[in-house]
Amino acid sequence: MTDVPTTTKADWTSDQEVRWCPGCGDYSILTAVQMLMPELNVRREDTVFVSGIGCAARFPYYMNTYGMHGIHGRAPALATGLAMARPELHVWVVGGDGDMLSIGGNHLLHALRRNVNLNILLFNNQIYGLTKGQYSPTSEIGKVTKSTPAGSIDEPFNPVSVAIGAEASFVARTHDMDRQHMMDMFRRAHDFPGASFVEVFQNCNVFNDGAFGAITKKDKRASMLIPLEHGQPIRFGENDENGVVINPQGSAEVVNVADVGESALLVHDETRQDPSLAFALSRLSAGPFEPTPIGVYRAVERSEYAGEASKQLALAQEQSGPGDLEALLHSRPTWEVS
């Protein structure tokens, strides 16, 4: 589309005052999105942000696009209807871990397996923020919060594992401390035709400050974040001294490259149909205290839902002609009374 007007970040910024707590990780995510938009060669009016409820779900108000702030957990369902009605739109879904994995977990699963053309950004801060600090479905076991004074006894979800298990076609992970990486992931999500799922590690500095600090602080990243790059052996560390192999049991494992040799390392293939390696990578880290892969886990194209639905409509019109109401009413046996 060559006739898309050139825009700047300011064009994508709404006139609404941003109301997140000072220091919230959501600010840097918002900036990354607003900075990315001018680069995507899309029109503001063709872009829609849909959200549920929660801190993250305020996101649409701050984008100078079309937007809908829905109800708790239901953003993927609202967005599915919109995307089916208007397949030409670029529909983004924004929500937090409680919104998308707890109350709205079901809708996330089904949007992913249907492969609706949505860009789904899950801001994972491992806590309920808007309701002031209860544990979330991604909180670690033992988490002490207002609602778990004796510590959480719930096993947390791993959002990337959930997405891969839900037949997601595109799954990526990034974090709020690295704008360029976020922009790269969001761009990939936008470019991917189908449901794109991006987990963003996001700091809630009020109720769960530093939850990801052990892996996302600048001085920790080299040793604790494992960049996934398509076609490359998976390596990380200050001097790339560590790597990832698939062990004989089929699990991913961090090794010292010097011990195993470079040829033993797993070469990342995001386009691999079989999701088991991507899943194995998602299980590499038990939480944000161990080396954790970031980047695109999986990008495997398959039929997109709204497009398939439109094709069925086109085919029906081709086969039966456009709908004729008079004919429909007379489509069953009729009789005349004179």
């Binding site: 829609v48 109800i71 089904h110 002609g321 456009p322 709908g323 009789w335």
Partner: protein, 625 residues
């Protein structure tokens, strides 16, 4: 038992006939009733049907729980109900006889499949002795017909498996009834060959069974008469036989066509609403998009998302589904987008009676959301009228940018009647205007778009569809400022918006038809006030009372929120007001609260509709009180 020469059998004319087919769930009784109905419709009778089937797909064979029944009234005059007591009961097994005999009129005709009356089936049905022999049916005219034996016999050379041959026995019963009541055979034969065109052996078996049934009637010397119900003198035109769910589906398609707005249905399968999803999913060439969602909430959310995208978003369900959709309907109230929420009511609470009818979701429709969350409500009152009710509900949703709840119920959904097909050129024009440009000039002269700036007449906000340049805006469920639509938590603003949303709905009363008031009834002693599917039974009951010289008026309300402007005058005009409902008096409570009249409630919450006889007796009771 066979004659070589056809016997001369006399024909007696009936004004009306009520037949009830009953058998095991696997016996095909719904199909049999449906075919009898279709043949009668094509013959030109007026008719009304009442299918009744268990919630279980196949309850244990031969048990009372597994009995499935279909009642149809055919007549030579205009009728509005499937009849009170059947004249004829066809019982395919002992359980069907035991369960359904109580419905039969005294002295009525019982036709049984004699082959099914064996000890095992009798025991399952709870009979100690064979009712065909113990004199317990002496008050009825009993015909014992070996349906299974004859059906197997006529199928034996067709190559069909014995089990499949036996399954054709319902067509034997249909053939026998068709002969006995002078129904035309051709529509049924045509239907069999069309339906089973890819299963020739099944078609042959069913055809053979049907013809054998007709031949049996003619030759068996059991029957002294055949009966005939002449065509009804209905208004001239083209008719089709339609049930409520089909008519409703077609009404939705019509609304979409008349509005030139594509239809989007988000739905989750639920009895008795699923047939609307089935029907609409076949209408893709009308541009209809259907989504079988992951749950009830997703279904309504997807519909609302589609409405945001400029489609007519619709969701169909039954009461339990409405309970789940409540929060999203509230969101639609706040977003002020068109949304059609269709409730095919069934027995409740909870799972309740999935396959039985009830109209107990009126208060749920009125108040089943948190906060002050008014929603217009339209109720259908007959199977064919579901078509127009759907168009009317869509009209209100589109014109006033609001969720609308359309109430039907299991009785209307599955019941059928002849429908004088409307001239589609007479359907209302529902064209909507989408926002195309800025609607507000700021003090500094810049042109902007305000999503909550209203049409002064309809109080509807603009429908600005994503993709339209210059109109980007954000909407949401948080309280907003009128005009700009910006988030606003101020006390005064909330008070204003709450009243505005209430007025928006109340104001629709200026744009709905007056109350349906039947006949010249200004001097009536009693007003019978109904809504929904009670229309048929009330109409018949009132006619009977009037035939006895009683002065009775009948008003029927199709718009339950807002109520018609003239309803207050109507309910105050008569000395007595009786409100029959398939609930514990929900509408009666509204009438008493709104108009301070001493309306009396008559309730039936048993999963089956009122009969005209019941209401007739209530009418007389109130008048004699």
């Amino acid at each position: 038992m066979t004659d070589t020469v056809p016997r001369i059998v006399g024909t007696r004319e009936l004004n009306r006939l009520v037949v009830r087919f009953a058998g095991d769930s696997g016996d095909g009784m719904q199909l049999t009733g449906d075919r009898f109905t279709s043949a009668s419709a094509l013959f030109g009778n007026d008719l009304a049907t009442l299918p009744e089937f268990p919630a279980e797909i196949r309850a244990p064979q031969g048990t009372l729980a597994g009995v499935s029944a279909f009642q149809v009234q055919v007549s030579d005059h205009d009728i509005t109900t499937p009849g009170d007591a059947p004249n004829v009961l066809v019982a395919m097994n002992p359980a069907a006889l035991r369960k359904e005999l109580m419905h039969l009129e005294f002295g009525g005709t019982v036709i049984v499949n004699q082959d099914a009356f064996v000890e095992r089936n009798l025991t399952k049905a709870g009979y100690d002795a064979d009712p065909l022999d113990d004199g317990s049916l002496d008050n009825y005219t009993l015909f014992k017909v070996p349906m299974t034996t004859i059906t197997k016999e006529v199928c034996k050379d067709l190559g069909v498996k014995p089990r499949d041959a036996e399954r054709s026995k319902n067509f034997f019963a249909l053939g026998l009834l068709s002969w006995l009541y002078s129904r035309p055979a051709q529509p049924t034969l045509d239907w069999i060959s069309a339906k089973f065109k890819r299963q020739q052996m099944i078609a042959d078996a069913n055809t053979a069974a049907f013809k054998a049934g007709m031949a049996f009637g003619e030759t068996a010397e059991l029957f002294d008469f055949t009966y005939e119900v002449k065509p009804a003198a209905l208004a001239p035109g083209t008719y089709t036989n339609v049930n409520g769910n089909t008519a409703l589906s077609w009404g939705l398609v019509a609304a979409s066509q008349q509005a030139k707005v594509p239809l989007f249905l988000g739905s989750y399968p639920i009895t008795p609403a699923s047939d609307i999803l089935h029907e609409l999913s076949q209408r893709k060439n009308f541009g209809v998009r259907t989504l079988q969602a992951e749950d009830e909430i997703a279904a309504v959310c997807a519909a609302l998302g589609a409405s945001f995208g400029g489609h007519l978003g619709i969701t169909t369900t039954s009461g339990p589904g409405i309970a789940l959709k409540g929060e999203t309907i509230g969101l639609a109230v706040s977003l002020e987008l068109p949304l059609l929420v269709i409730n095919i009511q069934r027995g409740g609470p909870s799972t309740g009676l999935p396959t039985k009818t009830e109209s107990a979701d009126l208060m749920q429709a009125m108040y089943g959301r948190h906060g002050e969350s008014p929603v217009p409500i339209v109720a259908a009152y007959s199977p064919s009228q579901c078509f127009f009710a759907a168009i009317e509900a869509a009209r209100i949703a589109l014109k006033y940018r609001t969720p609308v709840i359309l109430l039907s119920d299991g009785y209307l959904a599955n019941g059928s009647e002849p429908w004088l097909l409307p001239d589609v050129s007479t359907l209302p024009d529902l064209t909507v205007e989408f926002a195309t440009g800025p609607n507000h000039t700021k003090d500094d002269g810049t042109e902007v778009f305000w999503p909550y700036l209203r049409d002064p007449e309809t109080k509807a906000r603009p429908w600005a569809v994503p993709g339209t340049p210059g109109l980007t805006h954000r909407i949401g469920g948080i309280e907003k400022e009128d005009g700009t639509g910006n988030i606003n938590y101020e006390a005064d603003n909330h008070g204003y918006m709450v009243k505005l949303r209430e007025e928006r709905v109340a104001h629709i009363a200026n744009d709905i038809p007056p109350t349906m008031l039947d006949g010249d009834t200004g001097d009536a002693d009693l007003l019978v006030l109904g809504w929904g599917s009670t229309w048929g039974a009330i109409t018949s009951a009132v006619m009977r009372a009037r035939a006895e010289g009683r002065k009775v008026a009948h008003a029927h309300v199709t718009h339950l929120n807002p109520l018609p402007r003239d309803l207050g005058d109507i309910v105050r005009r008569y000395p007595k007001v009786l409100v029959p409902e398939m609930n514990l008096g929900q509408f009666c409570r509204i009438i008493r609260a709104e108009f301070l009249v001493d309306a009396q409630s008559v309730c039936k919450v048993e999963g089956i509709p009122f009969t005209a006889a019941e209401l007739h007796s209530h009418i007389n009771g109130v008048l004699d009180d």
